[in-house]
C-alpha cells in the first residue's frame, strides 16, 4: 500500500499550540480602550475648615435660614490675618500686603526685596504669637474681595503650618450685599 506511512519516518511538525495572534489583537484593542479611559490620579488633598460664623453673615440674610445650622458657642478667634491685594492692572489679585490684627492692634508683615509680603515672616510671627494665646486653635483670615483664591489659600496654609487647627474665613471688607 502506497498510502501507508512508514513507521521509521518522523511525522511532519504539527503545531498544537494556541494561536495567539487573535488574542494579541484583542488585547491591544482592550489596552487601547483602557489607555484612552485612564486618567492619572491627581495628588489632591483636603483641609478641614470652618464655614463663616453666624455672626459674620451680613445683610438681610443674616438670620440662618435653617435653625439646625446654629452651632454651639465657642471661643472667638483672637487673631485675624488681613490679606490685601492691589488692582494695578498687572498684579491684580496677588497678595500685596498682610497684616495681623490682635486685640485691636495691627502688625504689618514686612516685604521681601522683591516687594512681596514675606510669608516666612508671617509664619514665624504666627507661630510665636500663638504660644501666648488662650485660643490656640482658631484664627480668622480676611481677604479682599478681588484677592485670588490661590493667595488666600497660601495664607491659610501658613496658618495651618503655624499650628492653628481651625482657620475660618471672614467676609471681605469690600463684600457685596448678602444676595449673590
Amino acid at each position: 500500500m502506497s498510502l501507508r506511512r512508514r513507521p521509521s519516518e518522523p511525522p511532519t511538525e504539527v503545531n498544537l499550540g494556541a494561536v495567539i495572534t487573535p488574542m494579541l489583537d484583542t488585547c491591544f484593542q482592550l489596552l487601547f480602550f483602557f489607555i484612552i479611559m485612564y486618567r492619572p490620579h491627581v495628588l489632591e488633598g483636603q483641609m478641614i475648615m470652618s464655614l463663616p460664623d453666624k455672626s459674620e453673615l451680613q445683610g438681610p440674610e443674616a438670620v440662618v435660614s435653617n435653625p439646625a445650622a446654629d452651632i454651639e458657642p465657642k471661643m472667638e478667634a483672637e487673631l485675624t490675618v488681613v490679606v490685601k491685594t492691589q488692582h494695578d492692572g498687572i498684579n491684580d489679585g496677588v497678595i500685596s500686603q498682610i497684616a495681623i490684627l490682635e486685640r485691636g492692634l495691627e502688625t504689618q508683615i514686612p516685604h521681601t526685596r522683591t516687594g512681596e509680603p514675606d510669608l516666612k515672616a508671617l509664619y514665624h510671627h504666627l507661630k510665636k504669637t500663638r504660644e501666648g494665646l488662650s485660643n490656640q486653635d482658631d484664627i480668622k483670615v480676611q481677604g479682599d474681595g478681588r484677592l485670588k483664591w490661590e493667595g488666600m489659600m497660601r495664607v491659610v496654609d501658613i496658618c495651618l503650618q503655624a499650628g492653628f487647627k481651625n482657620p475660618g474665613f471672614q467676609a471681605p471688607p469690600d463684600a457685596a450685599p448678602a444676595n449673590p
Binding site: T12, E13, I20, T21, M23, L24, C27, F28, L31, F34, I35, M37, Y38, R39, H41, V42, L43, E44, G45, Q46, M47, I48, M49, L51, P52, L57, V64, S65, N66, A68, A69, I71, G93, L119, K120, Y123, G143, D144, G145, L147, K148, W149, E150, G151, M152, M153, R154, V156, D157, I158, L160, Q161, F169, A171, P172, D174, A175, A176, N179, P180
Partner: protein
C-alpha cells in the same frame, strides 16, 4: 559547490509572540485596575491651588457634596449645567432638604467639599461658603493640590 538550498521542514520563521502577549496583558491589567468608571464629581477643569497642609482625602467619608467653583464664579456640580451663585443657592437648599429627609435622626451630616479654582475671586468663594452655611450645612472641606517641602 553547494547544491540548491532546500528548506528544512519544521523550522518556523514566525516571531515568538508569547513575551509580547505577556507584556500587553500586564499593561492591560494595570490600566484596568487604574481606570475608574465612576462619574467623577470633581471637575477636572478646575485648577486647584496648592497647599502643604493639605491632608490625604478621607475616602471613608461618603456623605459629601462636591461643589466646584470656576475662576469665572460659576458653580459646577455633577449632572447640571454651570450655575450662578443664585442658582447654586436653590440647588444647595434642595440638596440639604433631600439629605434631611434621608437622614435617620433628621440631622444632616453632609460635608461640603469645595473645589475652587486658584484664580477665583475670594469674594465669590466667600459668597458660596456663606450660602452653604445659610442652607444649613455644617461640615466643610477645601480641596487643594498637595505639595511637599519645608514649612514656608
Amino acid at each position: 559547490m553547494h547544491g540548491p538550498r532546500t528548506l528544512t521542514p519544521g523550522v518556523s520563521a514566525a516571531p515568538n509572540l508569547t513575551p509580547l502577549l505577556d507584556v500587553v496583558l500586564q499593561l492591560l491589567m494595570f490600566f484596568i485596575i487604574c481606570t475608574n468608571f465612576k462619574m467623577e464629581e470633581a471637575s477636572t477643569d478646575i485648577m486647584l491651588p496648592a497647599a502643604q497642609s493639605a491632608r490625604p482625602v478621607d475616602k471613608s467619608d461618603v456623605d459629601v457634596l462636591f461643589v466646584n467653583l470656576t475662576g469665572e464664579g460659576k458653580v459646577l456640580v455633577l449632572g447640571r449645567e454651570p450655575m450662578s451663585l443664585l442658582e447654586a443657592k436653590y440647588w444647595l437648599r434642595q440638596q440639604y432638604e433631600d439629605a434631611e429627609r434621608n437622614a435617620r435622626d433628621g440631622k444632616v451630616n453632609t460635608a461640603i467639599i469645595l473645589r475652587a479654582a486658584r484664580d477665583a475671586d475670594y469674594e465669590k468663594v466667600y459668597q458660596l461658603l456663606r450660602i452653604c452655611k445659610e442652607q444649613g450645612f455644617k461640615r466643610f472641606n477645601v480641596r487643594a493640590l498637595t505639595i511637599s517641602g519645608e514649612p514656608t
